[in-house]
């Protein structure tokens, strides 16, 4: 397939296949249902397994089994379903299993609605389930980038033996864009000598387990995770910069909203305000390095724009660490702001103080 028109949700599926994933377990939920629709057709074509589970609880545990067995495995859902997966994610981390989870976020809390939102940011980047852990979180902003980041997601998951979440929203899942599908995708995946396969002549047994009954041993296991997370923080921060070199005001947004915000930066420049954009691509690890850089350049103030009540805002504040005012503009509940609204907010931002800005 060379250049073709594709829906975001289909790209999550195609990207997974190109990354060598041949196992999918999931339960339908809007606005991500095209992921299973697509894979139900595509996976059998390439010798893979598509299975509709009885719940998201089952999906994530099937993924746990498939990951334990050594496969590249995907599950996908939207906000309420991802909440149901949190125990399973914690077990995946505890057992150090690689797995990719797509969350096409919708408006919450509760049943909320099926409109685009970014309200699961905290849940995604702060752990989400029980225990002291992180999952890596990638946030594509276009259908093309979905294809690319799905491959990155599977590679990071295998490299660090940790679940990776690819976080989209209803706009990204539903919109169609042209994508270039160059090459064939991955043909072989890394060997996993730790996987359960039956011993088959192996002299030691493989055991996949997150139980660690002796506190000192469990502490050691936690510290091993901490080590891994420090490595990830050092090596895996990814972000996109737009017009930041001379920018006095930096807009910060992730996912599709970053596209609105780029248009805001253009409009601001037309009106003589030197604006730029940081778009975090990894939400965890959060790209602190991007902020160090722009603070050294010309940045005088920041405006974080999100489809929630101010969640990534906290990570931006931690990165900026009081050195500049960090303002906020958010529309929760499934509403997407226009360029003009963000522009108006931008004009109100002060260089002196953000006054603990929130909605």
């Amino acid at each position: 397939m060379p250049r073709t028109l594709m829906k975001g949700n289909e790209a999550f599926g195609e990207g997974a296949i190109r990354a060598g994933c041949r196992h999918f377990f999931g339960y339908p939920i809007t606005p991500q249902s095209e992921v299973p629709h697509y894979l139900a057709k595509r996976l059998p074509e390439c010798g893979g397994v598509f299975l509709q589970a009885e719940s998201e609880t089952a999906s994530i545990n099937m993924a746990y089994g498939a990951a334990a067995a050594g496969a590249r495995v995907l599950t996908s859902s939207s906000s309420p379903g991802i909440s149901l997966m949190q125990e399973g994610l914690s077990y995946l981390v505890g057992s150090e299993l690689p797995c990719v989870v797509v969350n096409v976020m919708r408006g919450g809390p509760g049943l909320g609605n099926i409109a685009p939102a970014q309200a699961d940011y905290y849940q995604a980047v702060k752990g989400g389930g029980h225990g002291d852990y992180r999952v890596m979180v990638l946030a594509p902003a276009s259908v093309q980038e979905i294809i690319e980041l799905m491959e990155t997601a599977f590679e990071l998951a295998d490299q660090y033996r940790n679940p990776v979440m690819v976080l989209g929203d209803g706009i990204l899942g539903q919109m169609m864009e042209p994508v270039d599908l160059d090459g064939e995708g991955i043909s072989s995946i890394p060997s996993k000598p730790w996987a359960v396969t039956g011993t088959q002549g192996r002299t030691t047994r493989n055991i996949v387990n997150s139980m660690c009954i002796v506190p000192e041993e469990n502490e050691a296991a936690n510290l091993r995770l901490a080590n891994k997370y420090n490595k990830i923080r050092q090596n895996e921060q990814r972000w996109e910069e737009y017009l930041v070199n001379d920018a006095e005001v930096i807009l910060v947004a992730f996912g599709t909203l970053a596209r609105v915000v780029k248009a805001v930066a253009d409009r601001a420049r037309d009106e003589g305000i030197r604006a730029g954009v940081i778009r975090p691509v990894t939400l965890w690890p959060f790209p602190d390095q991007a902020f160090e850089k722009v603070i050294k350049f010309a940045a005088k103030r920041f405006l974080v724009v999100e489809l929630n009540l101010g969640q990534m805002l906290e990570d931006v504040r931690l990165a900026v660490n009081g050195r500049r005012p960090v303002h906020f503009y958010g529309r929760p509940g499934g509403v997407v702001p226009t360029v003009r609204e963000v522009m108006e907010r931008l004009k109100q931002t002060s260089e002196v103080t953000d006054g603990g800005d929130r909605i």
């Binding site: 196992h23 299975l51 609880t57 089952a58 999906s59 099937m62 089994g65 039956g198 139980m211």
Partner: protein
């Protein structure tokens, strides 16, 4: 000298941690003996529960996965779908399978998932301190039914084997007990049948094993065996509830 008794190869030499008189250990041994008999140890992946038998990964001498509470059938499904030619079994208690994991076991059975389940029914939550299980008998005292299980408040004990035998994808479902040597021998046969069903690719199989929990029942090991025989079996009749040849309902 001929060897007349030895540890099955499918068990490690790790001593069991179970309480005196607990029949989990007998059931482990039966599973291991059948795995050896069928010659599948090196092709086997076992999935353990959360419950008193959470440490099965230390006892079964094969590749093992520890699953979240109740989710062993989903985990086993994932493993089997990746390695369809391996032998995959779950070992689960009645809290694990019949309370928190009811959905996973019913749907694994409905899919005719090619896995086998050993379901240990001891009418109580052992690990967490003797609370009521879905299988707790009417009138039975537990730490959460201190005045005895009252159907008005707590409903009725669940007959899992009978229920699952109505599911088309379940090909072999039996209930056995291990309270006497004769019953142990029968239990072993049922486990063998269940495992063979999977190896023949016929569908889902489950053996419910009535088991004791002297500690949380507040009995001596001998009293516990008696209680199992006289109180549990009348409510949980032994037998095969579906088999590949005869179809459904064939109990003794």
């Amino acid at each position: 000298m001929a060897t007349v008794f030895e540890r099955p190869r499918a068990l490690t030499d790790k001593p069991f941690h179970y309480c005196p008189g607990c029949t989990h250990g007998i059931i482990h041994r039966l599973v291991a003996e059948v795995v050896d008999e069928l010659g599948v140890r090196e092709q086997t992946v076992g999935v353990g529960p959360v419950g008193c038998s959470v440490f099965v990964y230390e006892y079964f001498n094969c590749d093992m996965v520890q699953a979240a509470h109740g989710r062993a059938p989903a985990v086993a499904t994932g493993i089997k779908r990746v390695h369809p030619d391996r032998f995959v079994f779950t070992y689960q208690g009645d809290g694990d399978l019949a309370a928190i994991g009811t959905a996973e076991i019913v749907h694994a059975a409905a899919r005719g998932e090619l896995i086998s389940t050993i379901f240990v029914n001891n009418a109580i939550f052992g690990m967490t301190g003797g609370q009521m299980a879905p299988t707790t008998l009417i009138g039975q005292k537990t730490t959460t039914t201190p005045f005895g299980r009252d159907v008005r408040a707590n409903g009725f004990p669940l007959r899992v084997a009978e229920m699952l035998s109505t599911v088309e994808g379940a090909v072999y479902v039996a209930r056995v007990s291990v309270h006497s040597p004769v019953h142990v021998a029968r239990a072993r046969k049922a486990i063998r049948k269940a495992f063979e069903i999977q190896l023949q690719g016929l569908g889902f199989s489950l053996v419910e094993v009535l088991s004791t929990c002297p500690t949380n029942w507040g009995m001596t090991p001998v009293e516990a065996l008696k209680w199992l025989e006289t109180k549990m079996i009348p409510y949980y009749p032994l037998g095969e509830f579906c088999t590949p040849g005869t179809g459904r309902q064939d109990n003794d």
